[in-house]
Symmetry: C2
Subunit: 417 residues, 2 copies
């Protein structure tokens, strides 16, 4: 996730109603000597936070290969005052802040990037920007997770667990949070989940945009472009199907994207195979189910029509394979939940405004299983996420740390209204 | 070329009318003592021909890297009785058979294969088959070119030039024959051109199937699949255009093939680029020009429509690039030409039947510039051309050599009717 990767939700109001009691609590907290010291500390800690952000971003973390970055994160968690860091069965790095306890509030950021192992990972300074793959998404979240731990006043009473997750990005299919909160997860009773993801200070992501992702493959016998003219051509079939799929009526707020396509070996050969990877997104799970059904029937119809009349046997026909390569559940956290109201009040207290928004992040999964979950940008500004030219500018960077800290403190039983 | 890669022509009659005078000539030639000795020699020379075919196929000759095979061919041409072999400016190997003279008949086979340098080149025996990349296309043609030279009776009166050409296959774009017969070529006055290409004995290729090949690229700003939803998606545009291009009405005998497609980096990103490689083929050059025009206007229209209403500036728009990556001229040699009639009569005399056909070979270019040109299979049977499992079976192998020889002899001024 990245601040730019959130949009207004179609389920949640962009401007949540003000909660005077919580606004009071936030203001009162910010006047407390311990919190004023924390605010001052966050400003002096800014340089270290930025240095750790660059170090983390400089450590490659391709999908399914987050180990190197996990080791750095484990070291930094312990150095920041968390308890012993352990890597769990799927690769998440976990560390308690204070004593282990039941029903923790989980504060999190994700280790993985979208970049493949071949991508050169080099972070460079360009004026007031840091530029390079993953510098914001989610090295910023990881660094601010560490900064929050360092800034926490002694002895928070609420059990807090820090987790650096694997598998947040596309192909990772949320496998880190699935492991925490899924059917076999040991954190199914968590009090709440906060993901620090990318840059930004004013949005509170309480809507979870779901997605269904598919790899579509079409195969045929192949042949010579001229002598075998008339044989099924998988590229021809796939392009026809995708041209039609673009005209599937999308419900308001839903999207369709073909992100990758490939096939064929030579301009003068009928290819034996063509494939694509595509996705639908929506905040509504039922809409996604309907879109999947429409896509499948469209593909089967287009392939079937091309096979019509080919009596020469199955080896002359085109075959279709549809593989679901991702399923990110849609959902949202009720804006009336304490976690959302606390985050909104903390955001308003720190930066003067707050909007609710929807995005697709680690929070989707806990939302689905009924755990209050939000995602917060971790301060600063960023752009060009998911490209090698991704950039981060440390404007209002400390505010990202402060509002995360304040959100945590407002969840304390003594503070919560 | 490969015997399997020829088809009936739409321009030429598959069954050319019999020419009694030429049939007489052929039969008379076959009874001559000198020719009977040549026939006997060809049979005894069969093993050497096959061994040279395997040696040539075993010498890699990727597109634009035919030098190694050219050196072997130069050595074998001289060893077979041709004059000094020289490599010309583009890499063709040339050797006179007898004395150099004006207006020669050119007999040829091609050096290059479709296989890239990474392809392992290993020729193996499997029962009665030889198997491996390029074993037939065109190691067979090269070997039979050598066998014909060895079998020629002494002192042919017609000036004969043997040429092993570069660049016959797809990407080579006929650069070997372009150099011989093009605007600056020194063989523009040649009497005729015979290409020995691949296996087969019964077809005389007098039709040249032309092709136009294009690489189509579409670019856009890219972005995030959900947040940037609505931006131009090059894969969406390309697939729509290709779906439509499939419905361009093709004249009888013309073909359209999208052989390769690619684009995008991640399922959850709007790609910045999509591309494909496609071709049209036809025996008619004007048809190809018309098809190219239609394709270009279709692509411009589809891209233009997607850009309509995007006022945000050119960086928000999709751009289109169409690169012509191949242009093989269409043409044919009039069946009334002595060269065609001689080849048909020789084929009938040797194997009892003959059909005219069309294919896409080195002969296309001389056809285009008005030089009588044909392509003949070089005997034997073959299959799976352009694949690593290409095979050759030496059934009626010597007949390929004999009919090429007989065709040459029938062109002798004293014989031609």
């Amino acid at each position: 996730m990245h601040d730019d990767l959130a949009r207004d939700s179609k389920t949640l109001p962009a401007d949540p109603p003000d909660a005077p009691a919580l606004a009071d609590t936030a203001r009162r907290l910010l006047r407390k000597p311990a919190i004023r010291r924390a605010v001052a500390f966050i400003r002096t800690d800014d340089e270290r936070t930025l240095a750790e952000q660059v170090r983390l971003a400089s450590t490659p973390a391709p999908p399914f290969a987050e180990t190197a970055r996990a080791e750095v994160m484990a070291e930094l968690l312990e150095a920041s005052g968390a308890g012993p860091a352990r890597v769990d069965e799927v690769g998440n790095v976990r560390a308690w802040i204070g004593e282990p306890a039941d029903r923790p509030l989980v504060i999190s950021a994700h280790l993985d990037t979208v970049f493949p192992p071949e991508q050169e990972i080099r972070i460079r300074r360009d004026g007031d920007r840091w530029v390079g793959p993953g510098i914001s998404d989610d090295a910023r979240g990881l660094a601010v997770l560490l900064a929050v731990i360092r800034a926490l006043p002694p002895l928070p009473r609420l059990p807090l667990l820090a987790v650096a997750t694997v598998g947040e990005e596309g192909v990772g299919d949320l496998r880190g949070v699935r492991h925490l909160f899924g059917p076999e997860g040991d954190l199914r009773e968590a009090r709440g989940f906060i993901s620090l993801d990318g840059a930004g200070t004013a949005r509170v992501i309480a809507g979870g945009v779901g997605s269904r992702r598919f790899r579509v493959g079409i195969r045929g016998p192949g042949g010579h472009s001229w002598v075998d003219w008339g044989r099924v051509n998988p590229i021809h079939i796939l392009t026809e199907a995708l041209a039609e799929a673009q005209h599937i009526t999308l419900p308001d707020g839903a999207t369709f994207n073909v992100g990758r396509i490939g096939g064929g070996t030579s301009v003068n050969a009928i290819p034996t195979a063509a494939w694509c990877e595509l996705e639908f997104r929506s905040e509504n799970e039922e809409e996604l189910t309907l879109l999947e059904t429409r896509l499948r029937s469209l593909l089967e119809r287009v392939v079937g029509l091309r096979n019509t009349g080919r009596l020469a046997g199955p080896e002359e026909k085109a075959s279709l394979a549809i593989e679901r390569i991702g399923h990110r559940p849609a959902g949202y956290t009720d804006p009336a939940e304490l976690l959302v109201r606390s985050a909104v009040a903390a955001t308003r207290a720190v930066v003067g405004r707050a909007t609710l928004a929807a995005s697709s992040t680690d929070a989707n999964y806990p939302m689905k299983v009924g755990i209050p979950a939000i995602t917060l940008g971790a301060g600063g500004e960023a752009g060009l996420a998911h490209t090698p030219d991704e950039w981060y500018r440390n404007v209002q960077g400390p505010d990202g740390t402060l509002r995360a800290l304040l959100t945590l403190l407002m969840m304390e039983p003594a503070e919560a209204g």
